[in-house]
């Protein structure tokens, strides 16, 4: 009886029900679209950050994060890499040997971050040493997949670094590093194989990459690597994957960092941006809840006599409360259904066609050390969708509480005479 009465009452004032449903469904659809775009943008930012010399997860030797020197490099990276690649959720593992270096061309020297990379792997996961980033020359791995053959060893440098050094593809530069174990600095000659442009100033001006074997020879590091960058299918898997990796590598004397730890500025930016989005949605929800409360309260006040009758003929106050809450639940369910359809449709459009911001941002803009792409794709996580639906229905029921309690507390004698 509760549901029958609730359904009929919901359909009674169709215009009011329609307006309330539209308000709720639009809010819900808006929430889904905002969540989808927000998560899509944040995911894109994280993926860009991850592909700029990081990884979803970074495996270092214990103590490396406190003292990032060659002495704390991983002694057997190949064995660890093989073990990590066996994990089903690991997409790729890239060994890297990183150290500070001085790069010299002619009379100009610049301090840079030097990264020894595996040329056959990097194009698969990096936005630095990849053909698409090269504005001149080639990536360390030539297009046909065979290792670059050049004597001296190849090096790729950022566009701004190349300008500072006044070098072009084919020019020679000298790298000077402090070798593993200390002692006299080591130097080596390299030929500029490619010039990359990522759009991120710090990388384009102070970053260079050489094959990891060349880096090992330069630094006297034998088969070592300072880190293994682990890549997953999706940035959202980072946190659970980190826990699993820590378990899998227990006893290896390594530390596992997530990209959030390795790039705290980027992570903070995303968290703050998400917070802003949630705050905005929170305000919207308060407005929606107030609207629901108003709609249901009007409905209850209009039907004071009917609730009085129900109480007079023996309905318990709890049953009367349940009728009003059931009306709210029906309203919420219908509105969530409509909002879901609308929100998913719009999300589908934004997740397939994307949002092109190139008209506003040109080639993209840099934020927290990341060059944001000009084209974003929405990505709505199923868990967030479910939680959003639960939140909206909960909000509608919350808005219904006061009208419902008011109906349940009516005195039948007075209520039944209400016109």
């Amino acid at each position: 009886m509760i549901w029958r009465l609730a359904l009929r009452n919901t359909l009674r004032n169709r215009r009011r029900t329609l307006l309330a449903s539209v308000a709720i469904s639009l809010s819900f659809a808006l929430l889904l679209v905002f969540l989808g775009i927000g998560d899509g943008v944040h995911e894109a930012m994280a993926e860009v950050g991850v592909s700029m010399g990081l990884g979803h997860l970074i495996v270092d030797r214990e103590g490396f994060s406190d003292d990032p020197s060659l002495e704390h490099s991983l002694p057997e990276p190949a064995r660890l890499r093989t073990a990590l690649l066996r994990l089903p959720w690991v997409r790729q593992v890239a060994p890297r040997l990183r150290t500070d270096a001085l790069i010299t061309a002619g009379a100009t020297s610049v301090g840079v971050a030097l990264s020894g990379v595996e040329p056959s792997i990097e194009p698969l996961i990096s936005k630095i040493d990849t053909p698409r980033s090269m504005v001149a020359g080639h990536a360390l791995a030539p297009p046909d997949g065979t290792p670059a053959r050049s004597e001296p060893a190849p090096i790729v440098v950022g566009k701004e670094l190349a300008r500072t050094l006044d070098v072009q593809v084919g020019d020679r530069v000298t790298l000077t590093v402090r070798p593993r174990g200390g002692g006299e600095t080591h130097s080596g000659a390299y030929r500029v194989h490619g010039i990359f442009a990522t759009g991120v100033h710090d990388i384009d001006a102070y970053w260079s990459e050489i094959p990891i074997q060349a880096a090992r020879e330069l630094t006297g590091s034998e088969q070592a690597a300072t880190s293994l960058a682990v890549f997953l299918d999706n940035v959202a898997e980072t946190t659970p994957a980190k826990a699993q990796l820590q378990t899998a590598l227990a006893g290896e004397h390594v530390e596992v960092l997530s990209w959030m730890q390795a790039a705290p500025d980027l992570y903070s930016f995303i968290v703050v941006d998400q917070g802003g989005l949630y705050a905005m949605m929170g305000i919207l929800f308060v407005v929606v809840a107030a609207g629901i409360l108003n709609t249901l309260l009007m409905g209850v006040m209009e039907r004071t006599g009917e609730f009085g009758l129900l109480l007079a003929v023996g309905a318990t106050p709890r049953r009367v409360v349940a009728i009003v809450l059931a009306e709210a639940a029906i309203l919420g369910a219908v509105a969530v259904g409509a909002g879901l359809a609308l929100g998913l449709t719009v999300n589908h459009y934004f997740s397939t066609t994307g949002i092109d911001l190139s008209g506003m941002t040109g080639e993209g803009y840099e934020t927290s050390g990341v060059l944001l792409p000009t084209h974003f794709y929405a990505h709505l996580y199923p868990a967030k969708l479910v939680w959003s639906a639960v939140l909206i229905v909960g909000l509608v029921l919350l808005g219904a509480c006061y009208p419902a309690l008011r109906a349940g507390r009516l005195q039948p004698v007075e209520a039944i005479r209400h016109e």
Binding site: M1, R4, L5, R8, N9, R12, G305, E306, L309, L310, L311, A312, V313, G314, A315, T316, P317, R319, P412, V413, I416
Partner: protein, 234 residues
């Protein structure tokens, strides 16, 4: 009609009801003593403000007395909790109101079923019983009609059907003919008298309609919250 000796339907002693209007105390009922036998047809008569509706509300467990005692079916209303009074109304007392008070979103059949469903009976059983009582009040062809599709007299008949559907023994009718035309009022009252005689239901009317008074076997006159006359007229 059942001729066997039945317990008292209503019993009141020294019944008082006082309302507060700001600082003012309004004595709606004062020292009312009353005994109504089962299967009686009684009219509470009196001018507006005499306390008829207040007494009806107390008998119907819609309100609690300020002092004194009132028992309905042997249960003392003053000692019952709100939930117990709701259960008493649901299971033992039927109401017919001046304004019909049907739920507009329910059909005649569903309105008649309402109390049965509140009692928790299975839907099929509710429907069967509601159909029986609607037929008994002459609405056998109007099960599916909403109140807005019924005349005033028909709506009041549905209200009577709702009041008697759950086999309750006491029906309280507050000015049941006030909104009806003469023909509909006569027809409704004849039907209620017939139910009283055929089913042995106790009817207690609050009314100053002479047509109602003319059909009563007992008329209790109220004035200023006091019973001023209690006469058996037939």
């Amino acid at each position: 009609m059942n001729e066997a000796k039945q317990p008292l339907a209503v019993e009141a002693a020294k019944l008082c009801k006082t309302y507060r209007q700001g600082q003012l105390a309004v004595h709606a009922l004062s020292d009312v003593d009353l005994r109504i036998e089962a299967a009686e047809l009684v009219v509470l008569a009196g001018p507006s403000g005499s306390g008829k509706s207040t007494l009806l509300n107390l008998i119907g467990a819609l309100d609690r007395p300020s002092s004194g005692e009132i028992k309905v079916g042997g249960r003392n209303i003053g000692t019952l909790s709100a939930a117990e009074r709701a259960a008493l109304r649901r299971d033992h007392v039927g109401f017919v109101f001046q304004a019909y008070n049907l739920l507009p979103v329910l059909s005649a059949l569903e309105n008649a079923e309402l109390v049965l469903e509140l009692q928790g009976l299975p839907r099929a059983q509710c429907q069967k019983r509601a159909q029986e009582v609607l037929r008994s009040v002459g609405l056998g062809e109007m099960f599916g009609r909403r109140p807005s599709e019924l005349s005033g007299g028909q709506q009041q008949r549905v209200a009577v059907a709702r009041a008697i559907a759950s086999a309750r023994t006491l029906v309280l009718a507050d000015e049941p003919t006030a909104n009806l035309d003469s023909k509909a009022a006569e027809s409704l009252l004849d039907m209620m008298v017939e139910l009283n005689q055929r089913e042995g239901l106790t009817f207690l009317f609050s009314s100053h309609d002479p047509r109602v008074v003319a059909r009563a076997r007992r008329v209790i006159h109220l004035e200023d919250g006091h019973i001023v006359a209690d006469e058996v007229v037939r």
